[in-house]
């Protein structure tokens, strides 16, 4: 229990939270933790997705594999996923992946009987489990039902038919991107912008405006009253160095100093709809913990020292 503690207490501040979108700050930690969180969100948070398709009738223009692939990519609501079993280690069905503990069955039966093209969409998928259904993207505010069809699977013309049984299973994004709950997970280092006010005052208003406009994103602006250059939105800065280069070109190096804070990150998380963005983050943290536990469980063994070396020592110490 000796040695320096590496433990830090990261802080999270939520900026914006919607069902499928989250923006939060992660402070007092470093890139390894931030990136681990990002990677887990993309690749290791489980969801449920269609994995096996048995096609009974398919007289559509798309072939069986084509439709199976499209079905797989439809996001399904996966709040259940964390508590579900992976079908490969399900005892109830011997890894067959067909039982209620590890799978959800879907049915799709559509036939076009009119001369109008019929869109087969995710709304035509009937689930055996009401908690696992295709994600509904329709805007609850909009009442026009004809517009709010789900994800289009295939279009049918008169006489064409599609009849199939699909089995959805739990999985992770590492195995196939269809199981990834994250549409986008990204973070940026929080920029810290210091304007050298004295040097800035040596510029004319014209020069200031020119300098402000040199940034492709709207980071700076000129105060209409004081005519001082101010930082409007430091996070709009995309680390493009344009303003710094511009300052140098104007003969005023050091006009602005921008440093990336090494311990603050601004995360943007967009979910596919399979789970809520907030849940995605929480699940990711949970899985990250489990992974660390897996390391800690083997802490006493000699192999652990071989495998993890110094890291193992840290785990014991910290």
């Amino acid at each position: 229990m000796e040695g320096a503690s590496y433990a830090r207490m990261p802080r999270v501040k939520i900026r914006e939270l919607k069902d499928d979108y989250a923006k939060f700050e992660l402070r007092d930690t470093d890139a390894s933790i931030a990136n681990a969180l990002r990677r887990v969100m993309i690749a290791e948070v489980p969801t449920i997705a269609i994995d096996l398709v048995e096609i009974e009738v398919n007289s559509s223009v798309l072939n069986d594999e084509f439709i199976a692939h499209r079905l797989g990519l439809i996001p399904l609501t996966s709040e259940r996923a964390m508590s579900m079993r992976f079908s490969r280690d399900c005892d109830a069905c011997d890894g067959d992946g067909q039982c209620e503990f590890c799978s959800v069955e879907f049915h799709l039966r559509v036939k076009c009987m009119t001369d109008q093209t019929l869109d087969v969409s995710s709304k035509d998928l009937y689930s055996s489990d009401h908690s696992v259904v295709p994600v509904d993207f329709s805007d609850p505010a909009a009442t026009d039902s004809s517009e709010n069809r789900g994800v289009i699977i295939v279009k049918l013309r008169r006489g064409q038919e599609l009849r199939l049984r699909a089995i959805a299973r739990k999985g992770i994004g590492k195995d196939h991107a269809k199981w990834s709950p994250a549409a986008t997970v990204t973070f940026m280092y929080e920029p810290e912008i210091h304007i050298n006010e004295d040097l800035m005052e040596t510029l004319t208003l014209e020069e200031k405006r020119e300098w402000v406009d040199s940034s492709p994103t709207r980071v700076f602006d000129i105060d209409p009253v004081t005519q001082q250059v101010m930082v409007v939105d430091s996070e709009a800065y995309s680390y493009d160095d344009e303003v710094i280069k511009k300052a140098e070109a104007m003969g005023k190096p050091g006009l602005v100093e921008i440093i990336a804070k090494q311990d603050s990150f601004i995360f943007t998380v967009e979910s596919t709809g399979a789970i809520k963005a907030s849940q995605l983050v929480l699940n990711a943290i949970e899985i990250l913990k489990q992974k660390l536990d897996a390391v800690r469980l083997s802490e006493d063994t000699v192999e652990a020292d071989d495998q993890f070396g110094e890291l193992g020592a840290h785990m014991r110490g910290g």
Partner: protein, 829 residues
């Protein structure tokens, strides 16, 4: 109307006893020869496109038909003569022959045009249209193949000719032996067909051409009068050649004579050339009067409104077709603004000098020229949509892309040919950076998540067929309902009860897809009903599937072949996702294989959340100089961010058919990107920012038909050739990998003699021989006596056993059969 006829070879013919036209013709020829001797400039250029004629299918078929028709008439005459010689002339006489049908069929199916009557003997005149890609088919239909053999080492005919401007594509030519000889038509080229000569000749006389018959020697040599030559035939002289040419052009523009008739005044030769023959290449140009275009704003508005078509422009005399010769009399301005008072024509659009295939390249005028040529060869191998009816076709091989896209950076040519509707590629977000070392030598790194989501996924359709043969003894093959209890039942699971595989079934290797049986005896005529043979008279001839597994039967078609046998065709579909070693290419001759596939979380990402589909190594740029690809990336990036397709037509910046880099950069900046297209990017592995800004954006990538799955091959042991007992050659025969001469030399130099011994003999064709040390000949092993015997010495006293490559033993025996005695002299090692 005399003097105007010629033989099939186009030489002046003699009318009765009048040799005068012929004399004049020969004299003109001599004058031209002497001119050429005195003045090298007067020499004709045989590579000049104006002196060339293309042969179209109509001309060739009409020649073939003429020959066959004449053969048929002589045949009918012979038949009739024979008939009339016979005593019973009143008998029913059948004079129908099928010479024409057979002749046409044979010539078209073999492609060998052998027409003795016209001394024509050409091979490969018919080709099966390439249907592997839409662009391949388009390119194939614009191809121009030369007549003479390709082995000649002259550079002249291969070089780019200035006269092919606008007529033949300067980019699209194959690499290698046919380089520069095989050409492709440019976008607007028209190849003329024969036009009736009579009316044109009489019109020339009406326009003041004086018949040579009526001219005295003095008049013949009037300095300012020009010789009028019509399709290579001397018509006469004209005193005012320019006025004559202008009159003909006026008639042509008014539609009084054909739009493809050309007049060309050659000041140097004092000749006016008229041409109405077929096979000339020509192209449309806007007519300008004293530099002012005849096409006005209201014409263009009518075109946009759909009231006016291209043909209306032609009919109204706003456009006209010029052939290569007549172009020499025209002063053509590139744009309306460049026209001076001397200008006679204005180009329609500069990008039309390129052909269909080169027209797909965005910004080709920014690329190093050979890169465009490479792309022209590769565009034909790209997978995509091949036709609207592609899923109803039964091609022997078909490559389709699952999610083809239309390029974000298009050209006008793409819209004109319809490549935007039948695309062959996908817009991939490309990061130009180095990653992992698996991207050396143009290899690309691919994002696994992109592949999961369908990037580069393709469908390969292959046709297999089975014929139910009817045999000479009235027996026939049969298809049997599968026996579900037999040993082969496992391999027959995909069969329907009719013995034929059902559509939708997934195939495994060695699955039987048609349970066919053939009669054992197919020769001796059977007594009684041939259909009721006992089962024992049949042997199994089931066709089994030799593939990778995972293929699906797409369709089964029953039809009859040309011998009226029943034919079952299976279309087998295989959906493949990209794997290591599959070939990809951008539209700039930059091909590369997939070097590694990386998880999405390991891929770099930008703070906007953009993660590339593909990583391309920056070393691909400096030596290739494909600046067009960089502009495509910029334009594509601006295109996705502002929601408008950008254009990159060749030479299009000036006319607004290509977006300028400045404008693109402005769009990028307004959408919050860097003007240079570079992004600030984080490593997906560490989460730290990368040290450099990364050039990233969408580039249209083509998946080429060369896939590892069709090529990979390795073998431990396997089949051998009967004759030499050495391993077979080639992947199709599961052959071995040869240690060739050069590899052998390396091993010799290294001194690895045992390795050579193993590779060249033990792993190839070892053979034990009995050698007689007395006479040096090969003996044999007598199994009864259990010793080797020399058949020459008639004993086994001096036999020793040794190992030899079987091929060596074979050679010794072959030499012996030619009365050469090779003797082996053995010594102790």
């Amino acid at each position: 109307m005399d003097g105007g006829w010629k033989t099939d070879d186009g030489i002046q013919m003699v009318d009765g006893d009048n040799f005068r036209p012929k004399c004049i013709y020969v004299a003109v020829m001599m004058r031209r020869i002497m001119d050429a001797i005195l003045n090298k400039d007067a020499m004709d250029d045989k590579d000049y496109v104006g002196n060339k004629r293309l042969e179209l299918s109509g001309q060739l078929i009409s020649l073939l038909f003429e020959d066959l028709f004449k053969s048929m008439t002589t045949e009918v005459k012979n038949l009739t003569d024979k008939m009339l010689d016979k005593p019973d002339k009143a008998r029913n006489f059948d004079m129908s022959t099928n010479i024409i049908t057979l002749g046409l069929e044979r010539t078209l199916s073999t492609g060998n045009f052998e027409i003795k009557r016209f001394r024509m003997e050409r091979k490969g005149m018919t080709q099966v249209l390439q249907r592997l890609s839409f662009i391949g088919a388009m390119g194939h239909m614009t191809r121009v193949s030369p007549q003479f053999e390709k082995s000649r080492k002259v550079s002249g005919p291969r070089a780019l000719q200035p006269s092919q401007w606008g007529m033949l594509c300067p980019c699209d030519t194959p690499e290698g032996e046919a380089c520069g000889l095989v050409k492709n038509l440019a976008l607007m080229t028209h190849v003329t067909t024969d036009e009736e000569e009579g009316p044109l000749i009489s019109m020339c006389y009406l326009l003041g051409v004086e018949d040579l018959e009526l001219l005295s020697a003095e008049e013949l040599h009037t300095p300012d009068s020009f010789l009028v030559i019509f399709n290579g035939l001397i018509l006469g002289k004209h005193r005012k050649p320019l006025r004559f040419a202008a009159a003909i052009r006026k008639l042509r523009r008014d539609g009084k004579i054909g739009e493809f008739v050309s007049v060309y005044v050659n000041e140097k030769q004092h000749c006016v050339y008229l041409a109405s023959d077929g096979g000339r290449v020509c192209r449309p140009l806007v007519i300008a009067d004293k530099g002012i275009s005849r096409i006005k704003q209201h014409h263009m508005k009518e075109l946009v409104d759909g009231v006016r078509t291209f043909d209306d422009f032609l009919r109204d005399g706003l456009l006209e077709y010029l052939d290569v010769n007549e172009e020499n009399n025209a002063l053509i301005a590139l744009y309306e603004g460049d026209a001076t008072s001397e200008t006679t024509h204005i180009e329609i659009e500069p990008f039309t000098i390129l052909g269909v295939i080169a027209g797909l390249i965005p910004y080709p005028h920014h690329n190093q020229s050979p890169r465009n040529t490479y792309q022209c060869a590769m565009g034909k191998q790209a997978m995509g949509n091949i036709a609207y009816n592609q899923l109803r076709r039964m091609d022997s091989l078909l490559y389709l892309l699952v999610y083809p896209q239309r390029p974000l950076l298009t050209t006008k040519t793409i819209e004109l040919v319809g490549y935007d509707k039948l695309g062959a590629g996908q817009n991939a977000t490309v990061a130009v950076m180095s990653y992992s070392g698996y991207d050396i030598e143009d290899a690309i790194v691919m994002n696994k998540a992109s592949l999961d989501r369908g990037f580069g996924r393709c469908i390969v359709m292959k046709k297999y067929s089975a014929v139910i043969q009817k045999h000479s003894n009235d027996t026939s093959d049969r298809i049997l309902r599968p026996n579900r209890t037999a040993d082969t039942a496992g391999r027959m699971q995909i069969l329907d009860d009719d013995g034929i595989a059902a559509p939708g079934e997934i195939l495994k290797p060695f699955d039987i897809y048609v349970n066919k049986q053939s009669p054992i005896d197919t020769r001796t005529p059977k007594s009684g009903s041939a259909a009721n043979l006992p089962d024992s008279a049949y042997r199994s001839n089931a066709q089994s599937f030799k593939g990778h597994g995972g293929e699906v039967i797409d369709r089964v078609v029953l039809c009859s072949d040309k011998d009226k046998n029943m034919c079952i065709k299976f279309l087998i579909r295989h959906t493949r996702r990209p794997e290591l070693g599959d070939k990809f290419s951008s539209r700039h001759g930059q091909k590369g294989v997939c070097g590694t596939i990386v998880q999405q979380e390991d891929f770099p990402f930008s703070e906007k959340g953009i993660c590339p589909d593909l990583i391309m190594n920056p070393h691909g740029f400096p030596s290739r100089m494909t600046v067009g690809k960089m502009i495509e990336l910029l334009g594509g990036k601006a295109g996705v961010s502002c929601g408008r397709f950008h254009y990159g037509s060749a030479f299009g910046e000036r006319s607004g058919h290509a977006d300028k880099v400045e404008a693109i950069s402005e769009t990028l900046v307004s959408k919050g990107f860097n003007y240079s297209g570079k992004d600030f990017i984080y490593s997906g592995i560490t989460g730290c920012p990368l040290q450099a800004y990364i050039f990233m954006g969408p580039i249209y990538y083509q998946k080429l038909k060369h896939m590892v799955l069709d090529k990979m091959h390795a073998r431990g042991s396997g089949p051998r050739v009967m004759l030499t007992r050495q391993p077979t050659e080639g992947r199709a025969r599961n052959g071995g990998l040869r240690v060739g001469e050069m590899e052998r030399d390396c091993l010799i130099a290294y001194g690895a003699s045992m390795l050579i011994y193993e590779r060249l003999m033990l792993s190839s064709d070892p053979f034990e021989v009995q050698v007689c040390t007395a006479c040096g000949l090969l003996g044999y092993y007598n199994h009864k006596l259990k010793t080797g015997i020399c058949s020459s010495c008639k004993n086994g006293d001096n036999i020793s056993t040794m190992k030899l490559p079987y091929a060596c033993k074979l050679m010794i025996q072959e030499l012996q059969s030619m009365n050469i005695v090779p003797r082996l002299k053995l010594a102790d090692a």
